[in-house]
């Protein structure tokens, strides 16, 4: 496929189209409902206990085994999916290898894919965009119109400012009452940060938290052009230079930072996926959705 790589993100501004393209051929499903009960899809038999509904008793099996068994089916899921998008200024970092792709566009695509999958399997899903010190909140709902709402909110997100502070973020995490899956896409350049603290706290509340850390190939390989001066998008002053003499120090600092990030996630049992935005979004999405430990 010509547009299997991340260049397809740059190919069109129509997020819906990109999502369809990424999801083509990708299996359905984020998670399996753990709860058993009345449903369509058979799961297992269970011995009858007084109080079970008679209509759930499998009469054919009763005739064969001379015992009452109750059919257990996988119940429809009521797990909410929450998408967390870091839209701070640093997410505007463009790829130096693929034109027109930046971290925010990549994160937007992947979160849009997750939303589409959640909509297909009937889960409620909501969106939290963190930008410019504020939290913008799209409440979790089901259905195709919610998908359009979420995609519109994703498209509106523009990279600006810093992450919101801890108090603002804490006030916005009221959703975490029911069991939910949280997909967070960020560059994790601030660690520990209010975002990281919130994610770890959600994990401690037994939510399924999955963090996608977006990087660029240039920053992973330390291959920035040395001819230019650089500026940190989240700091007003300060000019930086990149050169062969600074490459080792840059690598060391970066590995130390992401080492701390990885260790923090592992310690709190948060699956972390480090991905470069030059990688094909379909592959990254599959790895992100794969149940950890399998």
């Amino acid at each position: 496929m010509a547009l299997a790589g991340s260049a397809l993100i740059a190919h069109t501004t129509n997020l819906d189209l990109v999502i369809r393209h990424v999801l083509a051929g990708l299996g359905h499903g984020i998670h399996a409902g753990r709860e058993r009960g009345a449903g369509v899809e058979f799961s297992e038999y269970r011995a009858y206990v007084p109080g079970d509904e008679w209509r759930r008793v499998d009469w054919k099996l009763a005739a064969r085994a001379d015992r009452y068994f109750v059919r257990e089916a996988e119940r429809d899921s009521h797990v909410a999916v929450w998408l967390v998008l870091d839209a701070s200024a640093s997410m505007a970092e463009p790829s130096h290898h693929v034109d027109g792709v930046d971290k925010l566009a990549y994160a937007r695509t992947l979160l849009g894919c997750v939303a589409a999958i959640a909509q297909r399997q009937g889960d409620a899903f909501g969106l939290i965009v963190l930008a410019d010190g504020k939290v913008s909140f799209t409440p979790a709902l089901r259905g195709p119109r919610q998908l359009q709402r979420v995609l519109a909110a994703l498209e509106r997100a523009a990279p600006s400012g810093h992450l919101p502070d801890a108090d603002t973020l804490k006030a916005s995490l009221h959703f975490a009452q029911s069991p939910s899956v949280i997909f967070a896409a960020s560059d994790l350049l601030d660690w520990p940060s209010p975002l990281s603290q919130a994610l770890l706290r959600l994990r401690q509340m037994r939510h399924d938290v999955r963090v996608l850390c977006l990087q660029t190939q240039a920053e992973a390989e330390a291959s920035f052009p040395a001819t230019q001066a650089y500026r940190d998008p989240e700091q007003e002053e300060g000019v930086f230079r990149f050169g062969a003499d600074l490459r080792d120090g840059y690598r060391r600092n970066r590995e130390a930072h992401y080492g701390a990030v990885t260790a923090g996630c592992r310690k709190h049992d948060v699956p972390l996926l480090l991905a470069a935005i030059e990688q094909a979004p379909g592959d990254v999405l599959r790895r992100w959705l794969r149940r950890p430990g399998r």
Partner: protein, 327 residues
């Protein structure tokens, strides 16, 4: 002196300085992972960039035009020229010009007395290689003329045109006075007017009473000073007393009319020299070499009108552009 204004040309540096953009910082690209790098000193490059180049050009031109207007420059535009004195023989002029190789040159006709002065005044208007020939009856100037360029003068004495001098004699001794004016030297003629008119340049007043107040002449010969109170305190030179009055200059000598022919000739010579003036003497043909020390007189502002018009137009343009920039 005007040329000193050219030293004001460095004023043009002012708008150039104002329109030069100050320091231009290197364009810095964004790098999210810059926090892993040590901070460096920002490098700034000085680049010559211009803000509003159109306005800058207008202002520079305006200032240059103003300075040029003040300096009043002379543009050398004249080529080979033959300056012909009025009244010269056309055939002789043509022959001389052809002989000098200037038959096709521009011809300028001037009065005899002005020819050399005009050439001197305008001598910067000729191009560097232009040749200059002055033809005709050029009077000898009092001092040797000095030109900043080579000027050739070819002269031929023209036939002197006799001039008439009108004299009015108010006297009872008319014959005695007529004898005085009978035999003047040179080609000039003396006309005795019966009644004084506008052309009358000399009045002989040989009467005891005062003349009418309206009577005027440049010179009065007075025999009786009692009629002219100005002569009472007048100074005297060799017995000739002279004074200025509203009627004209008064001369008085005791014993007039002049008794002898010598005295009469002396009186006529004095009159000729002091009031009529000497007859011009034709200069000899000669070539004046270019002199380095010649100071051409200040230019007469030939280009000033053009420069003033340009100044006004440029000022309007500059104001419009500056206004458009502020909007």
């Amino acid at each position: 002196m005007n040329a000193l204004w050219w030293f004001a040309l460095p004023v043009l540096l002012l708008p150039i300085w104002w329109h030069r953009k100050k320091r231009v910082q290197n364009e810095a690209a964004l790098m999210a992972t810059a926090r892993f790098l040590p901070r460096t000193e920002p490098r700034q490059t000085r680049m010559w960039r211009w803000s509003d180049p159109l306005l800058l050009v207008a202002r520079c031109l305006l200032l240059a035009c103003l300075i040029a207007w003040l300096a009043d420059p002379v543009y050398p535009w004249r080529g080979d020229t033959v300056v012909i004195v009025e009244g010269s023989d056309a055939a002789w002029v043509e022959q001389q010009a052809t002989q000098a190789g200037l038959a096709q040159a521009e011809r300028v006709t001037l009065a005899a007395a002005q020819a050399l002065g005009w050439v001197h005044t305008h001598e910067r208007e000729w191009q560097a290689g232009a040749r200059l020939l002055v033809l005709g009856d050029v009077p000898m100037p009092a001092a040797t003329p000095v030109f900043g360029r080579q000027v050739e003068v070819r002269t031929r004495q023209a036939l002197a045109k006799p001039a008439d001098y009108h004299v009015h004699i108010a006297s009872d001794r008319l014959d005695a006075w007529r004898r005085v004016f009978a035999a003047p030297a040179g080609p000039d003629r003396i006309v005795i007017d019966a009644t004084p008119g506008a052309a009358t340049s000399l009045i002989v007043w040989d009467r005891p009473e005062a003349p009418p107040a309206t009577l005027r002449a440049s010179l009065w010969l007075v025999t009786d000073p009692a009629a002219f109170p100005e002569l009472a305190q007048a100074p005297a030179v060799d017995g000739l007393r002279y004074a200025d009055s509203p009627r004209g200059r008064l001369w008085h000598r005791a014993g007039w009319p002049p008794p002898t022919p010598d005295a009469a000739r002396a009186l006529l010579d004095d009159w000729q020299q002091l009031h009529v003036g000497p007859r011009p003497f034709t200069m000899q043909s000669q070539v004046f070499a270019a002199s380095n020390g010649a100071n051409a007189p200040a230019p007469g502002g030939v280009l000033r009108d053009i420069l003033l018009a340009a100044l006004v137009i440029l000022f309007a343009i500059e104001r419009s552009l500056a206004h458009a920039r502020r909007r």
